[in-house]
């Protein structure tokens, strides 16, 4: 009882903090630079991280197994991964892009997880026999970390595309513009603001910032995707080893497996396109954006259809 209350409290705290962080982002975006506010949004993300960590640990303690057995838990873990990427020191210097991407991503995943859509699966389910393995922690956490990093990276690429084709988006696609402008406008604003801060007295042709900004987006999207690709590889392979223990075959072309493989191939294509200097930038960004859609198909589409071996909502001990 105490656990579920604690969990409830933590969920709400983390959700509220992320909302506040986004509001702060919005304020700094609309109104002028307020450094204190920006600072507090950083602290907010760190607090969110600890809240979600607390939430996961609570769930772990009272359910007795690693909290990654259903979609709700995996969504919480996904938003935990987002906030983890946020506080990783490696990306610290370039937080302005990433926090603009990560904040909204985290709130969307968490909002979706806690919203009414999925109330039935909130309850920590019992662990079906096939999931009772040490591989669960390795496989699922790696997959979701991979998804989180790849989502961040491909969102940066989407931002690049939007930025490059701004006129196109403005004139031809108002709907997309509405969705995109907040995100990308914000990132762009952050970047320009920092540049302006550094070079106030210097000649500043707008074109230069724009290209510099696009280059930065391109580069960081590449680095984050490379990192995500490592996690995805480890996740898929550990999943295959686990499947060989539990189902009797390391690869059985189950829909979820297949889509994970498709995701892997798409990002492999991305990495190969990056090796060719002529295709860098816009071409690789298009591939990464395709990858963004495919991750969602892989992560949600297959789960919601509830087909195949990975449908743990209705999983009863059956093979193929």
């Amino acid at each position: 009882m105490i656990f579920s209350t604690l969990e409830h409290i933590l969920t709400h705290i983390s959700f509220s903090i992320v909302s506040i962080v986004i509001t702060i982002h919005l304020i700094t975006f609309l109104v002028d630079e307020i450094i204190k506010l920006y600072d507090s949004s950083e602290k907010g993300m760190i607090m969110t991280f600890f809240c979600i960590t607390g939430l996961l640990v609570t769930r772990w303690i009272y359910s007795g197994h690693f909290p990654l057995s259903n979609l709700y838990e995996s969504l919480i873990f996904l938003s935990w991964s987002f906030s983890l990427i946020h506080i990783v020191p490696y990306f610290k210097k370039n937080q302005n892009f990433l926090s603009a991407i990560i904040g909204p991503s985290a709130i969307f995943t968490q909002g979706f997880a806690t919203s009414g859509l999925l109330t039935e699966i909130h309850e920590s389910a019992i662990l079906v026999p096939a999931l009772q393995s040490e591989w669960l922690i390795m496989h699922v956490s790696m997959m979701i970390l991979g998804y989180a990093a790849l989502l961040c990276g491909s969102l940066l690429s989407v931002a690049l595309l939007v930025r490059k084709n701004r006129k196109f988006f403005f004139t031809s696609n108002h709907l997309l513009n509405l969705n995109g402008s907040f995100f990308f406008g914000e990132i762009e604003y952050m970047n320009e603001r920092i540049n302006v801060l550094q070079n106030t007295s210097f000649f500043s042709p707008k074109n230069y910032y724009r290209s510099q900004f696009i280059q930065q987006l391109d580069y960081w999207s590449y680095r984050v995707i490379s990192l995500g690709f490592i996690f995805l590889t480890i996740g898929i392979l550990s999943g295959a080893v686990w499947a060989n223990e539990a189902w009797g075959s390391y690869w059985s072309w189950d829909p979820k497996e297949t889509w994970a493989f498709i995701t892997w191939i798409v990002f492999a294509i991305y990495l190969h396109i990056r090796t060719n200097i002529k295709w860098k930038g816009i071409n690789s960004a298009i591939v990464a954006s395709i990858g963004f859609l495919i991750i969602w198909i892989c992560y949600f589409g297959v789960n919601l259809l509830g087909i195949g071996l990975h449908s743990y909502g209705s999983f009863t001990l059956t093979s193929n």
């Binding site: 074109n207 680095r223 490379s226 190969h272 090796t275 093979s319």
Partner: protein, 569 residues
Amino acid sequence: MKIMNISHRHSVIPSKFQNHNIKNVFKFKTRNSFPHSFLICASHSHKNGSTFTISCKLKTSKNDIDKKSMDKSLQTKIVVPELDGAPSLSRAEEERGSGAPVKPPPLSSKKNVLGLLKGLPRRILAVLSNLPLAIAEMFVVAALMALGTIIDQGEAPGYYFQKYPEDNPVLGFFTWRWVLTLGFDRMFSSPVFLGTLALLGASLMACTYTTQIPVLKVAKRWSFLYSTEAIRRQEYSDTLPRASLQDLGIILMGAGYEVFLKGPSLYAFRGLAGRFAPIGVHLALLLVMAGGALSATGSYKGSVTVPQGLNFVIGDVLGPSGFLSTPSESFNTEVHVNRFYMDYYDSGEVSQFHSDLSLFDFNGKEVMRKTISVNDPLRYGGITIYQTDWSLSALQITKDDEGPFNLAMAPLKINGDKKLYGTFLPVGDADSPDVKGISMLARDLQSIVLYDQEGKFAGVRRPNSKLPIDIDGFKIVVVDAIGSTGLDLKTDPGVPIVYAGFGALMLTTCISFLSHSQIWALQDGTTVVIGGKTNRAKGEFPEETNQLLDQVPEIVESTSSTQSNNLSG
């Protein structure tokens, strides 16, 4: 070369700038006010839209300042061409090494058939190692796999006639003819899919051979640069006045670089493994593919449902999967199911399935005994036995203290596919046309639901409880519920190869994240000219290197260096 009297670092612009006769000089108070690298200038839009910028920290001695030109040059916008046109041979090689296809050397001039035949493999190699082709292949593989999850797999042809009718094709053209002709009803074993995979494998091999292996050879050529020109041509370059190469070397070593010093020049690198790891990734993928092919052609598979207490011979269950499948001696082993049982959660749901198995060899000697469960298979002589399924085979009951009788249970499919088993105990004349009796239903081994002759609910009994139930005047005791265990068996000679591939793939993918950074430096009088580049972490490299260079101590007393006179550049 005069020694300049400056307190801070002097900027270096890649040599191409020098043609532009740049004299723009900027004065800044301190470097610290610009924590990030300060960008002088300008970007140049290439035809494909990509841009390149140069960063440099500028501070030049007063001697060099041409005050007249200063105002002018401040407005000068420097146009920097992209660096990939740099003439250095090793650079061009390296660019290719990072994935772009290498054109094969021109074919021999012999115009006889033999020459053509000799040239053919090369030409095929060149085509296969073409990067756009490989990317297209990957796209096709991904698309086919996606299609394979959209089209229901493994159904009878009639299903596809109905689902993709000719008079109402999907997307205007996709009918069952497509599905059946191309074998998309069994996508993952269809020739189209396997062919594309094989082609991708061939591309992998060709690319590894023609593009990646040469990188290894090029590695030998990376060495000292003896001209400041060449060093300044690097993506990153800087100049340290009043510094010594030795100090720089020590600091680079501290940062994890391998440092080589030879006379006035220094070469250092870090993360070399990151450059070679992609080769490993490709080889590991080939290993996985080879293992997968062996699995597909050389394994045996089978599944069996055995009631508790019965036996089966492994060889009777297994069926070969391909032409490479060869039976082994352990196929004669007999498996006896000593016991099948389940664990339950408090809520009544199944938590785990267990089968206690004994293996007997040809002579009837027990060679192994193990209780298997899901995630904990039994391995013996290359054969793996998995717990995958279960069912109820029989109910043992006594009727009016007679018996016990074994009633066979049949699976019932009433509400979806949840497990439900039923059996029937006839009452009265079993041969009459409308025989009536007591029905018993069970979802698991825990509880049996009994219904009387009218079909009304009579009660629930647990096996082993020995609690009798009175139905229509009969005293029924459910003695036991006998389960059968569903086992999957397989031999797979491909698994060790695939696992080796997996391990290598994980390792090499991780290593591939490393960035191969190289730094060259040349002592030029008391000035050290430094140039460097990296292949992946292009964003962090200048910043990290700046931090390292900041640590290089400044030599206060200017010692006249003998080396400077020998320099060519």
